[in-house]
Every structure is written in C-alpha cells, then in structure tokens.
Symmetry: C2
Subunit: 492 residues, 2 copies
Amino acid sequence: MTGQDFSPKRCALVGGGVIGAGWAARFVLNGRDAVLYDPSPESRVRAEAILAMARAAWAKLLPGALPQEGRLHIAATLDEALDGADFVQESLPEIETLKCAVLARIDALLPAGVPIASSTSGLLPTRLQAGLRHPGRFVVGHPFNPVYLLPLVEICGGEQTSAETRTRVATFYRAIGMQVLHVRKEVDGFIADRLLEALWREGLWLIEEGVATTAELDDAIRYGAGLRWAFMGTFLTYRLAGGDAGMRHFLAQFGPALKLPWTRLVAPELTQTLIDRVATQSDDQAAGVAVRALESLRDEALVKIVRALATVGPQGYGAGATLNAFVAGRATVRQDGAPTGWQGVVPPDWIDYNGHMTEHRYLQLFGEATDRLLHAIGAGMDYVAAGQSFYTVETHLRHLGQAYGGMAITVRTRILDADDKRLHLFHTLTEAGGDTPLATAEHMLVHVDTARGRGAPMPGAVAEAIALLRAAQGGEPRPEGAGRAIAMPRRP
Amino acid sequence: MTGQDFSPKRCALVGGGVIGAGWAARFVLNGRDAVLYDPSPESRVRAEAILAMARAAWAKLLPGALPQEGRLHIAATLDEALDGADFVQESLPEIETLKCAVLARIDALLPAGVPIASSTSGLLPTRLQAGLRHPGRFVVGHPFNPVYLLPLVEICGGEQTSAETRTRVATFYRAIGMQVLHVRKEVDGFIADRLLEALWREGLWLIEEGVATTAELDDAIRYGAGLRWAFMGTFLTYRLAGGDAGMRHFLAQFGPALKLPWTRLVAPELTQTLIDRVATQSDDQAAGVAVRALESLRDEALVKIVRALATVGPQGYGAGATLNAFVAGRATVRQDGAPTGWQGVVPPDWIDYNGHMTEHRYLQLFGEATDRLLHAIGAGMDYVAAGQSFYTVETHLRHLGQAYGGMAITVRTRILDADDKRLHLFHTLTEAGGDTPLATAEHMLVHVDTARGRGAPMPGAVAEAIALLRAAQGGEPRPEGAGRAIAMPRRP
C-alpha cells in the first residue's frame, strides 16, 4: 500500500476560522463531506459564508466542470466531528500547547489509519506529534488564504511521520486541485512563511520608521514585483534580470548589494504604538470597504488571474497549469456522448448588462458544438494542421428565450444538408433536460484547401462520416425556423 | 510653472542594459523618440530585441489603442545621445562612483532645465546629486523589469531635488502608463527593494542551509502568496486574513510569531559555494529553456494578468485600474465620429486555429457597433438601468473574407427599417479604409420593457433619433445580401 489511492470521503475539520472554513469549502466543492468543529458560536455562519463565496468563485474558475458537491455539517462536539472521519485537518490557533492537547485527543479517538494534518503556519511537526500514540500518521499540510482558491499547500513531516502518510495526504491534496510543495528539511516557518515573514518584518520596520504606510508598502509590491510573483517567483525572475548571462551574472551584479543596509536584519518590537499605527493605516487603506467586499474583489481577481494563467504557453503556466491538470484529471461530463450533442453551464461572467447571456457567447457555444461535430467527422485540429478545414460562410441566429449565468444548457446539432463541398447545420440550444429552444443557429460551411485558400471537395472518409450521421438523424423532422430570412412584415 | 504639463519628446537613455532598453521601449511605444547610449557593442541588438518584445506585448495589452511610435536611435557617444534631449534616464550599473562621474558629465552638457532621472535600485539621491552643478533637477525614478510592462516606478528625491522636478518627472511617467510611488523619506533601497531584498536574503539562507532549491522557493511564492501580491500586497491581504476583525485581530494572532526564529535576520555571506549552488539550481530550474523564451512567457503572463485585472470590480483593480486610467486618458480614436461607424484593431488573441478571427468575435464586434448605435439614439446603459432595452431576436451573418490579428477594421451600420417596436439593422465590416466587405450582420431588435419582460413601444425621443439617422442615410442603396436566407441550391 503506497497511499496513492487515498481518497477520503468524510473529512473532519477541527478549528473553523478563515483557514478551517476555507478547507471545508474546498473539500465540499470537491465532492467530500466536511464535518467542522469549532467552539466559537460564529463558526457556522462563517463556514456557510465562506462556502458561498467559494462556490461563486469556482463557478467562474471551472465553468461547466463543477462536480457534485459534498455536504457541510457543523458538529456540536469534537467527538461528533471525528465520528466516521477518514481524514482530519486541524486548523486551530497557532499556540503549540493548545494544538498538542487537541491533537492528542484526536489521536486517541480515531482509528490508527486515519491521517491527521495540521494547518500550522510554522510550528514544527516533530514537536506537534511528540505526544501522539500514532505519530506516524501526523503531518503538516499548510495552506494559504483563501484555501479554496490558492493552490499551494506545504507538506512537512516530523521525525516520526511515515512516508505513507506524506504520500496519502499529498495524493488527496492534489486530487482537490492543490499544488503540493514537499518541505524536505523541517525548519521553523517551513519555506513559504519564512519568505513571507521576512517581507512582513521589513514592512513593519518601514512603518515603524515612518518611511511608508501600509498602502504604500502594498503599492510597492502590487504594481511591480507582485505581478511577476504571480507566476514566476523571485529566482527565475532574477535569472531574467541577468539577461542572457542568467543567474551568475545577476549574482555578480547584485551580490554586492547584500552588503548594503537594505534590510534592518531584525524583527521590530511590536509595541502598542506600532500596533496602533499599522491598524490605523490599514483602516485608512481599506477606506471603509468591508472585509467581505474586499474578499469578493480578491476572489474575482484570483479567479481571473488563474484563468488568465491557464491560457499562457501551450499548457498554461504556474497556477494556470495546475488548474488545467486538475480539470483534465477529473471525470467531467461536458458531452452527452453523441457528437451532435454538447452540454455545459453558462459561466456567470458571460452575462451582459441586461442580465442575460451576451449575444456573441451564443455564437461561441454554437461554435463549440460545430467544432465537436467536425471533430466527430474526422475534421478536427489535426485535419486543420494538415491543410484542410471547414469555414463558416453564413450564419443565422434566432433568440427565442434567455440563458442565465449558471444555467445548465444543451446544444443539439442537426445536419440539414451536405454535398461534396458544403455542410448545412442547424443547432438548437435548450436548458439541459428541456425542450423549449432558447436560441437556434443555422450555418453554411464550405470545405476549404487552406494552403490554396479556396473551396475543395472533402475527402471520402469525411463525406462518409457525414452521411452516417445524417442517416442516424433521418427520422427527425426538419427543425422549425430553418431557412428563415430576416424581414419586417408591415402590420396592417 | 508646476511641471504638470511636462511632456518630453526626445528622451536620452544613458546605459542600455535590460533596464535602459526597457525604458527605451516604453518611451518609443508612447510616441517619444528614444536616443540610447551604451558603450557595449551589444546594446543595439539588445535594445531592438527588447523593443520588438515590448511592441508585441503592447499589441495584446492595448488592442486597438496603440499610438504612433516614436523612433529608437542608438547614439555612438554620450554627447550625441544628449543633444537636444528634454529628458534623461540614467540606467548604469549600481556602482556609486561610476554613476556620480557620468551624472556630472550629463549635468555639464545639458541645459539646466532638463530633468535627469536615475534608475538606481537603492543608492541615495542625495549622494548621487552631490557633485552636480544643478542638483535640483536630479531625482531617482526606479522602475521594475520588464520596464515596458510593469507599471511601478518609485520617485525619490534627494535633499537638493526641487519639488518641480518631482512633479515634472511624475507627470511624464504617468503619461506613459506608469504608477508613481513617491518615496517620502530617503532610505537605502527605497521601499520596494527593501521588501524584495528581505525576501531574497531569506531565500539565499534557505538555499545555503539546504532547506529548499531555487525552484522550490519560487513555487512557495507563485502558487500561493504571489497570486495575491499581484493585486493586493501583504498588508491588505493580512487584513483579510484577520477576518471581520481586521488588522488588529491579525496582529494579535500573528504578532507573537515575530518572536519566533522564522527569519535568519542577517544577510548570508555570498561565498563561491553559495554562488555555484544558486546558479546551478537556477540552471536546473530553467531546464534548458532560453532566457528569451522565458521572457516571452513572462510577457504573455503579465499581459494576461493585467488585462484580467482590468476587468475586476467596476473600474479594474491594481495594475488593471492603472491600465484603464491610461487608456481612458489618452487620445485614442476608436470611432470615426458618426454613430453608425465603429473602428478598431483585431486583438491578436482573437485568432482561431485556422489563423483567422474566431467566428463569435465577429458577432462581438457587430454587438459593439449595435451598442454604439443604441447609445447614439439615447438607449445606452442608463436607459437599460431605467427599465427599457432593445433585445436582439434574430441575426444573420455572412463571412465573405477574413480578418487577421492586428488588422485595422471598420464597421458601418445601416438602419434598414424601424417601427414603434422594432429596429432592423445591417452592419458591414471592412478593413479600415477599404470597401470590400469581410463580413456582414443583419439584426432584428425588439424594444422591451425589461421589468414586464415583454415588447413595448419605444419612447418618442428614441423613435425620433432613429428617424433622423435613417434620413441621414436615405440616399444609400439597400446593402447587397440583406434579407438572405441560408439555403443550398442543388447544382445541376
């Protein structure tokens, strides 16, 4: 047993702050049941609010590919939360004695084979697992806020953590869309938080000394290096700054700056004065915008950045590549099996100022249905690469109803006619499971020799595939609305 | 004279490395002539290569809104570079004595009113300006790589820098799309590089101690905090991590961690062993991909991130808001004046696998032309917000030619017919300045009371505006292709 088939169904969350509730949302959106225990009376409202935000974000992140959700349950006691759990994620406050005490109780209640992961930002797993009866199943799985959107999770084992536990937990995290970073050497703060803490401590010094405010410090990052850090990180970026000579040149050029007093080299004393200054500046920076509204902006930006990165390079880049691999790896049903059917969900950001799906998105959907049919008759991307293609020369759209954001929709495709050079198609868009057409599209396509840039007869195999599909549709009536012209009859 | 109308036309670049050439590209793309001097024989090739990359990136960043370029000239001598310059940007290596010597020569050669900005990453302006005869015109303008894409520039004056110089240089930087951060207190490393240096120094320690490789350090950022830093920065992010209680709660929760040994607090010694380790790990990380290819990936990612951020929230967020303000602030001509004409440039990423503009993008363009007409007849966004709208019920598209990426195009709109509830439009898309239709669109729109969800007569003012436009178009013949139905006539 290597742990590579570990796939928990019921995940216990111990601690339901921003991090614990974020984990719960990620689990639920990935079809796992999440049972959350937190002594705070606010935990239910918080967990449900965060799940709602996460659901809205995922609908935009993965339009048309959302799985069946698991259930979110708020447990009244720790024992109830653990009952039947096959995975535990602990996200309590960063107090070592508190974590050790609760972890010991979790360890005592659960069967030995259930992994226990801690969300600690930097406490050492060897110390956290020291008092457990089954320390081998304990590991750190450190995520980043918002847990339901940021892919990074650091896995760090202690001296007694088993290799199988690391593998099992990594397998599970990857299955729910995360990017695992194995921390090979156990150090305080692991890897990411050491870097974040260095920047944070220096920022506090600059506030302490009156050099910059919280807003200026944030601007110094978000308009500059932060844009690069979204996909490359410091070291690859600096390699590029070195030009063609790369990192060695960069070190030669900027190495001497390490001797300059560019960092204060110590953590500042967190005096009440400094606390007040940071908090006041942060209030000014937020300018009265509530945390929930800022979170909503944050999620919108993260979704759009990750989706943008998914289109960079041939396979996506950074978090975009992680998303692409995640989507490719899960069993999504975007088609209903037949090449003349296409299913999907309307992405919420396809909605126009009327509250309806934007006009050109209808044509985009019909275009996807056309591409699917072309792929099915042997005229897909390879065919185009080899020098032949079908070009659309004429399109007739009718808008008969409205599609809304999040609506599950189906496009059915009829081949109305064809000859050796032409293909006449008719698409009907309905709500999934419904019969009422919301829109139709009629297309005339011409078969083209793309090198010569002119019409050419289609190969026999393609013509045969079209004939087979037409035969299969032979019994269906000609759709209403085909062959229409736009006209405005005068009323009497 | 406040300096707020400062708009140099001929910019001298002294030093043509990655930063100097990046400045040159930004100047040229913003219609300024850039004259670059660098003693290295590679400077011409590098500057032209970087300008080519920058031009490709801007075509995607600002489709349809690119201004007339300035010229790039490589000067053979410093004197030639400075001749006639009304702005100087110095980007020499970070060696204080070298910078001081060259700045003194620039100062001696140039009229006193020409501002001189230095790209130094962290040397103090008071020291750099000390030997100048006109120190008041000297200021630091510190950009970030790639200069032509990242908006941040830190402006830091020395003790003798005049207020007017700060204002003039800030005005110019904003006019070329940058986000100015005024550094109010002169400190080594200014603001951004202190933060970057803190992270970099800690990263070098983690490599020195064998905790992580350059690739792992980059992953620790780019899959996690780096995604947030692209738009929010550390302090606003941590405010959100504090939940509804905000920054004060966050400080209470994570303040104690400042006492933990999460950073090494000193810069590591840059030994030959450490240099070799960093350089070797960086080579492994790049996996044989050339710097130029990585730069291309970087630019693609930056363009897509900034464009994504331009759609976040009502005005865009972070660098996206900067881009939107930049686009709004420049004199672009997207329309030809008449409400029945629309002009633009095909964005390069609108191209499909056939090398042509994707089908649904044609409809998007025609939709923009329709929106423009509706706005002109008094039925724009405010009208929709007030409860009335025009809905498209039928569309007929004909593809007669091809639009390619970067092609300047025009859409002309005809009102074919109208009554009190219906509007019958016909759009023709051509290459700008051309007559041959590439595509046409015929639309039937119905006037709707959106609250009741049904057709309703349009108000008199709207009907009158339509009548006026029809009258203005009265002499034009009915366009060829109007009223067509899709059909496949049998050949004999």
